[in-house]
Amino acid sequence: MVGWRDFLDIEIIALVSKHVSGALAIIAGFLVIGLAANWAIKDPFVSPVVHYAETVIVTACVLRAIIVMLWKLLGITRKTLKGGGNGTAPSILVA
């Protein structure tokens, strides 16, 4: 029986860690820039603009992470189920 543990290999861990770390790093960087801009300018007009831009940046990065990870996970799953090619059996069935 194929369980979720069969898909949890080093490729998936590397994929998720790279995307999560990338998204978090870029989001943190832009949030720090936004906070610094808010703190430096202290303008009631600029503050909601920066807040809106930060919201869009965070949402876009999270959405991108979800899309890319799902796409790559789909590819890995298809490759795992398809097998090694040349008529060989699927790797998870061999295991």
């Binding site: 770390s21 990338g22 832009f30 809106y52 919201t55 876009a60």
Partner: protein, 132 residues
């Protein structure tokens, strides 16, 4: 043509570049969203448009970057001999040996200022060192 395999660092930096491009594209997209809000559009619609535009622009920018990098980057095939020489020349042993040779091979200053000998007292540094 055998290509040099992409290292973990390179692939991670590629992934981070995509997020950087997306976040950069989100700035003009949020400006557009604010413009739409100012023109009377709903806030949710404006955010939806901004986020979608940012993500799509990020993907497009990543594709453009990869396309141009692929045009300009020349991948040099590495033969086993080159790999062996490269590994040998960058090994830790050779690096350490080079460091030692550079440090010990540095010529001493011939015309350095010579200080007068230290007067030997009970509290002199050399005696203290010797006592320790």
């Amino acid at each position: 043509m055998a290509q040099h395999p992409q290292s973990w660092l390179h692939s991670t930096l590629d992934v981070w570049l995509g997020y950087l491009l997306t976040a950069t594209a989100a700035v003009p997209a949020s400006a557009l969203g604010l413009f739409l809000i100012r023109r009377g559009a709903g806030q949710q619609i404006a955010i939806l448009i901004s986020v979608s535009l940012a993500v799509l622009t990020g993907f497009f920018a990543e594709w453009v970057v990869r396309f141009w990098r692929g045009r300009w980057l020349v991948v040099v095939p590495m033969t086993p001999e080159i790999v062996y020489q490269f590994d040998w020349s960058t090994s830790h042993f050779v690096s350490a040996a080079g460091f030692v040779l550079v440090v010990t091979g540095a010529p001493a200053r011939q015309h350095a200022l010579t200080l007068p000998p230290e007067p030997t007292t009970a509290a002199s540094a050399s005696l203290l060192v010797r006592a320790a």
